[in-house]
Chain length 199, copies 2
C-alpha cells in the first residue's frame, strides 16, 4: 500500500480524503502522523542511565524500535574522566579535535605504565511500548602521546587497544568492529534484537 | 526488512551498526532519517499558489508523495471574502465558530438573492522530486442566516449547496464528498494519483 502525505494537520480533511482514496489502495497520513523528534537530555549519572533514557524516550516518541548507545572513554589516571562526558569533554559544542586536545593536555606528565584506559559502551534496545533491555561491554587499551590514524571518530586516534601496536583510528572498520566496545556490546545485543524483533 | 532507529545523529555510529546488522536483515536509520516537518508559510495570493507551495515544500522536506489542498469560501456580496483567508478570517488562531460568527455578522443586512457563494478547492500533488500537478473545482450555494448541522467542519453549517435544502453540515460524509469542492477536486486528481504513483 502506498502512502500519501497530506500537507495539513486537519483531521477532518484526512478522514474525507482517506474515504475517497480507499478504493485505489492509497493510505493517507497527515503531518500529525510524522513522528516528532524528541530532544533527549543526557542527564544520567551513568552510561546505563543515559542509554536507557535515549532508547526509551526516542522509541516512545516515534513508535520505532530504538537502539541507543552511550559510550565513552574511562581513563584511570584521570579518575575515570572523561567518562559520560566524553563527547562534551572540552565544552558543549566540542569537536573530536577539541576533546582529543584536552585529553592530551591532561595526560602530559603521565608515565607509560599509568596510561591505561578503556572504552565503555552501554547499549539499550527499546520497544515502541517502552520495554528496555541493556547490555554493556569494554575495550581495554592505553592513551597515546599523539593522535594517529584517520579512521573511526571520537578518541580513536589516541587509543591503542591492548595487544595492538596501532591506534583504534588505524584499524579498518571491520577490524575495529571485532574488538571495539561498541562492536562487542552489539554482539551481545544481536541475539536480543533477533528474538525480540521477530516476536 | 525491519527498521531500527538509532537514537543519535552520529553518522559514524550509524555506519558501524548498519555494517554489523546487515547479516540479520535489519535496516538502520538514525535521527537524521526522520523527516523534519516543514513550517510552510501560506503567503500565496491565490488558492493555487498556496496549494502548490504546501505540496512542493512538504514533499521536498519529507521525501513523501504529498497532496495539499488550499480551499475556502468565496462570497459574492463580500467581494470574494473570506477567500484564501477562510481559515483565519477572524484572526490567526480563529476557531470555526469565530469564523462563522464573523461571516454571519458581515452578511446581516444582505438579501436572499445576493447571498450566493462557492466553496473553492485547489489541490496540488507533488512528487518527492518536486514535480507538482494542480486541479481545481467548486461547489456553488448560498450563505444561510444561522448555522445548521453538526457534520463537516469550517463553514459547512452556514453553506447550503445549490439544489439542496440542507446545509453542507447536515449531509453525511458520503453525500458531501459527492458534491463538495474537495470531493470534486479529488475526483479530478484521482486518475493523476493512480497514474503517477504507479509509474
Amino acid at each position: 500500500m502506498k502512502t500519501l502525505l497530506l500537507a495539513t494537520r486537519n483531521e477532518g480533511k484526512k478522514m474525507e480524503l482517506q474515504e475517497m482514496l480507499n478504493d485505489i489502495g492509497i493510505s493517507v497520513i497527515n503531518l500529525h502522523d510524522i513522528p516528532p523528534l524528541p530532544e533527549v537530555v543526557e542527564d544520567g549519572k551513568t552510561f546505563k542511565e543515559n542509554a536507557e533514557k535515549k532508547a526509551y524516550e526516542t522509541a516512545k516518541a516515534t513508535g520505532y524500535w530504538c537502539l541507543a548507545d552511550d559510550s565513552g572513554l574511562v581513563v584511570d589516571a584521570l579518575n575515570g574522566q572523561p567518562g559520560i562526558y566524553s563527547a562534551r569533554f572540552a565544552g558543549p559544542e566540542a569537536s573530536d579535535e577539541n576533546n582529543n586536545h584536552k585529553l592530551l593536555d591532561l595526560m602530559k606528565g603521565i608515565d607509560e605504565s599509568k596510561r591505561t584506559a578503556r572504552f565503555v559502551c552501554c547499549m539499550a534496545l527499546s520497544t515502541p511500548e517502552g520495554e528496555t533491555l541493556v547490555v554493556e561491554d569494554y575495550c581495554e587499551g592505553i592513551i597515546l602521546r599523539q593522535p594517529v590514524g584517520e579512521q573511526g571518530f571520537g578518541y580513536d586516534p589516541l587509543f591503542m587497544p591492548q595487544g595492538y601496536n596501532q591506534s583504534m583510528a588505524q584499524l579498518s572498520r571491520q577490524e575495529k568492529n571485532l574488538i571495539s566496545h561498541r562492536g562487542k556490546a552489539l554482539n551481545r545485543m544481536k541475539p536480543i534484537i533477533i528474538s525480540k524483533m521477530s516476536e
